[in-house]
Symmetry: C2
Subunit: 417 residues, 2 copies
């Protein structure tokens, strides 16, 4: 099938899906969860083929782990689908309703975006995850997974399409580019007429490629150079715990901490204590010249290089810098943050108020770990991406962020004077 044909089929399916009732969409999600369990043998056989090829080609153990499915992971995918079926459906929500002075009744009503193009890498669970969220919100989706997962995705999408058809929904609501050729990605990015939004899930290179190749709106995000500023008034015991959590709990993800900024007034007490607490967890440190005097002769601390404060570590490395005051902390964040998640640890209300007002990141924290920037943690029930762009949606994108709205205007023969 040509990509244009795929786009046309998606557009037609999107129209049908936009009219599907919540009950039917939820029943389909549950039917899909059941079918996943029933068909797990076929899925595991297909996945084993991908794993064998990946092992032979020397894929890293971390990537192999992300690629591998097993009974427990399939059961987890089914549970996630059931959970999505219990969330409230944003489609049809009415908001900003009013009656104008001339008697026109006007409101906004949420509708699906239309057709989503999602480009991702190794993990086959993303296939189910995205299909479930798209189905729930009445969007058709064209999926492009990593070439390592071709067999797994083929098997998963067969199951999805069967569940759709059995539930009376169009199979083309979830389509899959069954072709490892990278040219197909470029073709997808150029389907302006049929695709309404591109969601890349991967590294900075993929995001940039999508932006450059596409005139379709692209949701960019997922790159976090995150900061916590320890103010002079911070509860230092709590600050150590929050920084420990933000750095150590899961260092490989975008909301993990990259840089701790420490107020000079408490640096002498706080910095050695922080290093002592975090080093046993395997954390190593890159200290700015401002922080080095407080950590002399400490083998766990290296001098920060020129690019270190512009690096998303994704590992157990933490940048350390001493600042003179709140202004310097805010200025450092403005210069180095990717506007993902940044926070202040303080007991001074005036400082937290200024930090909230002046730090313009997707998520701004007071006295909490940056690790909370996540759709589930924020109570959205699901997450399709974390946006660090400014339009449409910022931060964790849940179901509502997969919708747009239309204006509905109801009159009684109204004409404009």
């Amino acid at each position: 099938m040509s990509m244009i044909e795929m786009g046309q089929r998606a557009r037609t399916a999107a129209r049908q899906l936009a009219r599907a009732k919540t009950d039917q969409k939820d029943a389909t999600l549950v039917a899909l969860a059941d079918r996943l369990a029933a068909d797990r043998a076929a899925i595991l056989i297909a996945n084993a083929q991908d794993v064998a090829v990946a092992q032979a080609s020397g894929l890293s153990p971390a990537m192999l782990d992300r690629l591998t499915l097993n009974e427990a992971r399939i059961a987890g995918m089914a549970t996630d689908l059931r959970n999505v079926s219990t969330l409230s459906d944003p489609v049809g929500e009415i908001f900003e309703a009013s009656t104008l002075p001339n008697g026109l009744a006007i409101h906004k009503q949420r509708v699906p975006i239309g057709v989503l193009g999602v480009i991702y890498e190794a993990r086959p669970n993303v296939t189910l995850d995205v299909a479930g969220l798209a189905l729930k919100t009445g969007n058709a989706v064209i999926l492009r997974g990593g070439s390592e997962t071709l067999n797994s995705n083929r098997a998963l999408v067969a199951v999805i399409q069967q569940a759709l058809q059995e539930s009376g929904l169009p199979a083309a609501a979830v389509q899959f580019i069954d072709d490892a050729d990278r040219a197909r990605v470029t073709e997808l990015l150029q389907l302006d007429q049929y695709v309404d939004m591109i969601i890349p899930r991967g590294g900075a290179g993929l995001h940039q490629f999508c932006r450059e190749q596409s005139h379709i709106p692209v949701i960019t995000g997922g790159i976090g150079i995150c900061h916590l500023f320890v103010d002079a008034s911070a509860d230092l015991g709590s600050a150590v715990k929050v920084i420990y959590n933000a750095k150590v709990q899961r260092p490989t993800v975008c909301n993990a901490l990259d840089t701790a900024l420490v107020h000079r007034a408490i640096a002498a007490e706080f910095l050695p204590r922080l290093v002592d607490q975090l080093a046993p967890a395997g954390v190593t440190f890159r200290a700015d010249v401002s922080a080095q005097p407080f950590l002399t002769n400490d083998m766990r601390v290296s001098p920060a290089g020129p690019d270190d404060f512009d690096t998303e570590w994704l590992s157990l490395v933490l940048g350390l810098k001493v600042v003179e005051n709140l202004d310097e902390a805010i200025a450092h964040i403005a210069a180095h943050s990717t506007a993902h998640s940044d926070g202040i640890l303080t007991r001074a209300d005036a400082h937290s108020a200024r930090f909230i007002a002046e730090v313009d990141s997707a998520a701004v924290y007071v006295n909490a770990s940056t690790r909370f920037t996540d759709g589930s943690q924020f109570g959205l029930g699901a997450e399709v991406a974390i946006s660090t762009q400014r339009l449409h949606a910022r931060g964790p994108m849940g179901l509502r962020e997969l919708t747009t709205y239309k204006w509905v205007v109801i009159g009684a023969g109204h004409v404009r004077p």
Copy 2:
């Protein structure tokens, strides 16, 4: 000044502007209104230069009219600015606030988008209009007006920048590309690092150019192929009046009607009546083969050509088509509408409900003229554009649509388990 320098200045100004209090922004709008009145002589002299050049170069009378300023128009611009100063400021608005089960307090807070790039054509009033809306919402703006208005815009922007400085706000909050070279437009579209949103105000060609040349999000819109469907149950007297208004009241704008779809059951009665009522206002008609039998030997009616139902008339031409039922009307709209403004005229609640559910245009009407699609008419108090794209905002964009949001999360030393 290089465009990059202009971008850097805008970014710096945007940071200051984002922190400006509502009072200060409103006072600046009023000061600007006062200064416009005080400096009107200099503005009129500059405008007269533009008008003289335009007359010599043979600009059309309609374009000349749009270009020309006079005392009354300057007074109108000042009044508009005062009106914007009275609107409520969306920046800082808190919404979707909740306390999570773990005690984290979380909310979304509206913030300015940042730096806007606005590209427009002849009318110098757009300069004030956009500057006022940007200032009110704390956004910096880089303006690129038509080459015909270079002197007028130079004078207007001088007044704006003086008012900004006198009010303690950065002059670079409103910058102007004082150079008629079209290369500057392309450079503006490539300032990804400094510009957050591009708003083209002009024809389809300008919109397409911006989309193709820029990786910055572009607000496309303003192109309306608009439909009204006269259902079998419509009040025919009211239907004629609504169609008259939608077609005749201001035919040159995007929310004017282009096509009337008429249910076959009432076509024999309605179509001749419609033509009789609209023709005296100068309306001419393009009838589909389905409508021609009801309008035989009528010199005011021509057969519709193959592209006529895909044409935005912007003039006193109206397409006519007879449909068998609601489904055919909805299908025609799906195929030919630009998703701007489409409506149904009916007394059947089930039909209006289906029309609202199934027609996915930025504004969907029941028993009202499409001419209401407008920020002022919708009660937004102002309008920066009418979006026909799907992301960020659809339909009339007011002050709120010139903002985005950030998440604010307040804890007490919270860490993620």
